[in-house]
């Protein structure tokens, strides 16, 4: 049982690390602010959930797990909110999404 939990936890931690990496690469490679935020939010959502769940499995049933659940809840509430605030602030400041084709440009404007 302990081995199964250990393996499961390491799988979760590795997947979490991969999502953080994907988020980082996406934030560097995407063409404009909105797509970059979309990529970076992989770090906030999948990365945080997977890594924290992995650590919870390592910690077992203890006070640490309760604290980790609280951290996870806080992150799940605040990071989409801050993304929303950032995107709406950018839109209000006049940042236009990157438009690839003529049709896109007409849609944006």
């Amino acid at each position: 049982m302990a081995t199964v939990l250990d393996i499961l936890s390491w799988v979760l931690l590795t997947l979490g690390g991969v999502s953080v990496l994907i988020g980082g690469i996406g934030a560097l490679r995407m063409p404009d602010l909105y797509t970059r935020m979309h990529a970076a939010s992989v770090t906030d959502s999948m990365g945080a959930i997977l890594v924290l769940t992995g650590i919870m499995l390592q910690a077992g049933w203890s006070l640490v797990t309760i604290k980790l659940i609280a951290i996870l809840l806080f992150l799940l509430l605040t990071s989409p909110t801050s993304s929303n605030a950032l995107a709406s602030a950018a839109l209000l400041a006049g940042t236009r999404p990157f438009a690839e084709t003529q049709q896109d440009r007409e849609d944006v404007t």
Binding site: F74, L77, T78, T81, N84, A85, S88
Partner: protein, 324 residues
């Protein structure tokens, strides 16, 4: 493994520092300073200095970023470039760096057990905290009781800094009532941040109280808790408009809070004298000296938290009042 991780974090820190110096956009510089603070906090945590890490994360990465941003709102976003005397400053920096590197050769090796910090007073603190104060977190015992004078000095530094900033900016109290259309409404028209803020702010305040009163058992204490409570109220001011934050905690109350910390701290010290001990000796406060020490630490930590909250919020409101 931990050493590798520390080297990795320190490398990132150097890269961030170079980026801060090189960027001309002050907004980017402020964000990078927040990242630098967070990296340093992680590094402190690796070195098992959880209390310092918490302070650095709450004050360096959290509150000072907000204060820098509100200062930035008063000025331009671009740095004014100045090119005179660059060679001279380069020479000074290179010389100072060489001297500092030379000085590190005399330092004890990382983690060496016979380093002066580990042989001087630290063993005494570790050995005698259970006997005299009997709280698990030795850092709080050292900060609150053994080195109480230093912490009193720190509280006065925070207090003085707050007074200095208010002298420069004005407390905003003299500005009087604002015309109706100029009232800062914050993000009141943005529904999602407001709703989530209403859910989260009570829990941030609760966490602040936890950090405040859990300082004897784990990382925490007045400085960190003050910053966290101030952050919650700054968030409230950003979301609901500054006027409503000022209605909850008016400027004159904040000024009283600022002065409360040094007063409470000093009063505890003088109470020690009045009850027959030395200044800042908490043992005579109760009949049991150990319980007296614990009570004294609890009271002075509360004083520290009150002052830090008052000073940070006063500075924030002073900046915001200048921006109108």
């Amino acid at each position: 493994m931990i050493v590798m991780f520390g080297i990795f974090l320190l490398t990132l820190l150097v890269i961030t520092a170079v980026a801060i110096v090189r960027t001309e956009n002050l907004f980017v510089a402020v964000m990078l300073m927040g990242i630098a603070s967070l990296l340093i906090a992680a590094n402190f945590f690796l070195l098992d200095a959880a209390d310092v890490a918490l302070t650095e994360a709450a004050i360096g990465a959290g509150i000072s970023t907000v204060l820098f941003l509100s200062a930035l709102a008063l000025t331009s976003e671009r740095e004014r470039t100045k090119s005179s005397r660059r060679l001279l400053s380069l020479a000074v920096v290179v010389a100072a760096t060489l001297v500092l590197i030379y000085a590190t050769f005399d330092k004890p090796r990382f983690g060496a057990a016979d380093a002066p910090v580990h042989t001087h007073v630290a063993p005494w603190y570790l050995e005698n905290t259970p006997k005299y104060i009997d709280i698990p977190n030795v850092v709080t015992a050292v900060l609150g009781s053994f080195r109480g004078y230093d912490t009193l000095g720190e509280v006065f530094v925070v207090f003085t800094a707050g007074i200095g900033v208010l002298f420069l900016l004005g407390s905003g109290a003299a500005a009087g009532a604002l015309p109706e259309e100029k009232v800062n409404e914050g993000l009141r028209h943005h529904l999602i941040p407001r709703v989530v803020g209403r859910v989260v702010i009570p829990f941030i305040l609760l966490f602040g109280l936890y950090v405040q009163f859990h300082g004897e058992y784990g990382p925490g204490g007045g400085f960190q808790a003050g910053a966290i409570v101030a952050a919650a109220i700054v968030l409230f001011a950003l979301l609901e408009g500054e006027q409503r934050a000022l209605a909850v905690l008016p400027q004159r109350v904040l000024l009283v809070l600022m002065a409360c910390g040094p007063l409470i701290y000093g009063a505890v010290g003088i109470a020690g004298i009045a009850l027959g001990g030395n200044f800042l000796d908490y043992s005579p406060l109760l009949s049991d000296p150990v319980k007296g020490q614990q009570l004294g630490i609890l009271i002075i930590e509360a004083g520290v938290g009150i002052t830090v909250t008052g000073v940070l919020l006063s500075i924030f409101h002073a900046f915001a009042a200048r921006g109108r």
